[in-house]
């Protein structure tokens, strides 16, 4: 990076810090060890030790580790580890992975229900804090229990989607943009380095000074990436309170609350207090989903509203009111309600049981990484 040396050092320290945090998260969450079981939903959160371990985001954490190492080498040439072609190969794989996950998530959301119609903007759930714009709807951090259902009433593929996400980040699109940005930067840096080297008689320029050494190709692409990253940063910043809610989640009640707060577009969630005798899963919950400003598509209450009431426990009742005329009511027994009542499905309970590990710190790290990446991109553009 051109400009003051100390500034490059600061940014290198930031990205290394993010990489270290992500590595620690990988280790603590044990996602890399237990991943197979996570996907299959067999891992009860007692096994993970709820409150001690949480769910990581395997792919996002891995890519952050790699991005931190690679960007540190861009900011400070002395910290360069691998040659540029090796990094390009690494991030090409990452790009392919997140592109596949984005497409797959999109497909699943289409199969699973009208997610995009109900949750426009698809911010769909701040739950995983991975980012906006993809499959939408469910707070993976908190779980299926409430928010997922509140935000995604009537989505048959929901549990499957949650289970399928396993320890991966729920919203791969921002990470796809990150990996594309890394490829772009590596490409431009190599370009400028070779130009500098040839201009200086083969002395070989380091990363320093690359900003002023030449003109980047496709600057418009770089600008678009910067804008996307800026948008992602403010999107994350807006959802920091949601992360705070997740970090406070202690028992099942709080997990439900966290999910309710962070997931989907639920606005108001009422829930039965858990301070009741045995049968802790029992509760009454009324979820009114999707009331956001002018967004009529989400409004299930006004006009085309749905109010959903659920009672789980020895008997489970589910009442749905669709439309202004309260179109229907369903009451189901405990066995019949198994698919949607909190704690009933394995995938649901598994997802609900494990909150995201250090979500607020993870979000701050993503913000810091985004700022560093934006500075580097602008320097190159």
């Amino acid at each position: 990076m051109s400009g003051p040396t100390w500034l490059a050092d600061v940014f290198a320290a930031i990205v290394i810090g993010v990489a270290l945090f992500s590595a620690a998260r990988l280790i603590v969450s044990r996602g890399w060890l237990e991943h197979g079981r996570l996907v299959q939903g067999r891992l009860g959160y007692g096994r993970l030790g709820h409150g001690r371990y949480g769910r990581g985001e395997l792919d996002a954490d891995v890519v952050h580790v790699l991005m931190g190492i690679a960007m540190a080498g861009m900011f400070v040439p002395g910290l360069a580890t691998l040659p540029a072609p090796a990094w390009e190969a690494v991030f090409a794989v990452g790009t392919a992975w997140f592109a596949w996950r984005t497409v797959r998530g999109r497909r699943l959301s289409l199969v699973g229900g009208s997610a995009t119609a109900e949750e426009p903007g698809s911010s769909g759930g701040a739950g995983s804090f991975c980012g906006p714009g993809s499959s939408g709807g469910v707070g993976s951090s908190g779980g299926l229990g409430s928010a997922g259902q509140a935000g995604a009433v009537g989505k048959p593929g929901l549990g499957r989607r949650l289970a399928a996400s396993g320890g991966y980040c729920r919203y791969p699109l921002p990470h796809l943009i990150d990996t594309v940005a890394m490829l772009y930067m590596l490409w431009v840096v190599s370009d400028i380095r070779s130009a500098t080297a040839s201009a200086s008689g083969g002395m070989g320029g380091g990363a320093a000074g690359m900003g002023g050494a030449g003109v980047a190709r496709l600057p418009f692409l770089g600008l678009i990436l910067v804008l996307c990253i800026c948008g992602y940063i403010v999107w994350l910043g807006d959802r920091l309170p949601a992360a705070a809610a997740v970090t406070t989640g202690g028992d099942s009640h709080d997990r439900d609350r966290s999910a309710a707060v962070t997931g989907g577009q639920s606005v108001t969630i009422m829930e039965a207090a858990p301070a009741t005798p045995a049968g802790g899963a029992c509760g009454a919950r009324v979820a009114v989903a999707g009331v956001t400003g002018v967004n009529a598509a989400q409004a299930r209450v006004a006009g085309a509203g749905v109010a959903q009431a659920r009672v789980a426990g020895t008997c489970a009742a589910q009442a749905r009111l669709a439309g202004a005329s309260a179109a229907g009511s369903e009451v189901a027994g405990a066995s019949a309600a198994g698919s949607e009542v909190a704690g009933a499905s394995a995938a649901g309970s598994e997802a609900a049981g494990r909150s995201l590990l250090a979500p607020r710190t993870a979000m701050c790290c993503k913000i810091a990484m985004g700022v560093a990446m934006g500075v580097m991109l602008i320097d190159l553009v």
Partner: protein, 379 residues
Amino acid sequence: MSSEGAATHIRWLQRDRDGGAQGDRARGDRARGDRARDRPATWEAPDVRRWLQLGLAAIWLLDGVLQYQPFMFTRAFGQMLAASAAGNPAVIADPITWAAGIVQHNPTTTNAAFATIQLALGLGIAWRRTLRVALAASIVWSVAVWWLGEGLGGVLFGGASPLSGAPGAVILYALLAVLLWPAGAGRPANDARPPRFVAAGPLGVSAARVLWLVLWGSLAYFCVTAVNRTGQGLHDAVAGMAADEPGWMASINRGAASVLAHRGLPVSIVLAVVLAVIAIGIFLSAPAARVTIVLAVVVSALIWIVAQDLGELLARGATDPNSGPLLILVALAYWPLGSQRAGPAAVQTAVVQAAADEAAVGQVAVDQVAMEVAGRTAR
């Protein structure tokens, strides 16, 4: 535990666990005690105002990132600031010269501070807990930069042009901070009446419209100042942008410049009329106001692309994206909110809360609560 027992303990999830209303707690207790215990841990999906605030935050963030460009850490940045003093009266120009001198002597320190401040403003607006502080700080910062960094946008000596970003892009940040100030600050808590448009929330309809009139009216006026109505004035302004731009952008500049050649006066008059129509259109009925705002967005986008070259972001040395995106944000803040926005979160929350209170007190069955919710919202 029975489901009836559960129904007696309905409570709001937004509230603290220990501070949540018990089933037998009176409604007044709930209103009094729990509001104070509300934590920002609650998160609601952004409404229109919040989205616009996030747009402003993103632009501040972009400004901060741009400020980290290597060019800004050189003395050239201070010289650029000093150049804005030219043409201004001494009372305005002297502080500019003084500030530019400081920047020239300490380019690294001062620019790092500038960049960090702008980053902090963007992040502060994005983070809800610091929203008001960040918006207030952004007003102060914008006014200071407008004066010391942009020489008041050249409005005092006739050098301003809408095509070059008059009345100064940075003052539009301050305007946006005012227009997007969190609504309801001075309104009663039970006042769920939605404003007619976002900008009317903090100021009221009349004041917001007057600000709109001043902004777009001044742009119309700047179009027909002596500098801008000369035969080659607009041509030179647009053609001069092509330097340092990528080929496709330079070709747009050249094409537009050829259209404007020797047509400065008629084009200026047409542009002034269009801007005047925009200035007045906000006072018309809602459908006409919508047309006006669409026109404002289109004109702003055209100016941003053709005359401002995307704020010269693709050429080195840009400190902000110029006025185009900000004018678009301003225009969106005036978009009339239709009756369907009658479903803002506040209204819905109030309805559901009333139902929950009844359930908590009277052990209303859960399905009855839901029925009531639907009925009330339908009404």
